[in-house]
Symmetry: C2
Subunit: 109 residues, 2 copies
């Protein structure tokens, strides 16, 4: 059993205004992100399946040029290798779950 | 891209007082559970890694006879095959993420 206290962790700024705390398991990476209103994450893609779920706020994802605006209660599945970008319409709390583990996040300063 | 509206789904009662909405991806099962205060889930185990995170409330997990009480901000990783049971100390909202997919949940009535 592993017990992790998220708020004992120093967040990492993965893009301007995106403050992430990571939990890596044997198979997945959980990224708990506090996002400042107006913050943009530029278009990118990765081999990982990404499941995006909002706890608070209103967020716009653009996936393969298709914009989708969502709020808590919606789950978005971004398939592997799909190009996507993001915009926080308000301050947001987001949980992104990646399969497999985001090895690139493990060594992020 | 897949967009899922959790609250358009009818929850399934996986144990008395545990009302779950499932999202199955290619690799994981996400179980969004509303739990009534005092509800117990009996000891069980499964091959799946389980990552448990509380959005609201106070919950007690007992994993291999070791009790742990937690609140939002804590993430608990239950390893594959570990025996565990649960007790909702208050009304709770829980997200459990299982790897691999919970095939047994797919056909639950």
């Amino acid at each position: 059993m592993q017990r992790i206290e998220l708020y004992a962790m120093q967040p990492k700024e993965i893009a301007p205004g995106y403050h992430a705390r990571f939990v890596h398991t044997a198979h997945n990476t959980f990224s708990y992100v506090d996002v400042e209103a107006g913050s943009v994450i530029a278009e990118h893609s990765h081999i990982h399946e990404q499941v995006c779920w909002l706890l608070e706020g209103k967020f716009q994802l653009t996936i393969e040029d298709q914009p989708v605006i969502f709020e808590p209660g919606t789950v978005i599945i971004i398939p592997p290798n799909a190009k996507h970008s993001g915009l926080a319409i308000t301050d947001c709390k987001v949980l992104d779950v990646f399969y497999p583990v985001r090895e690139d996040y493990k060594n992020m300063l």
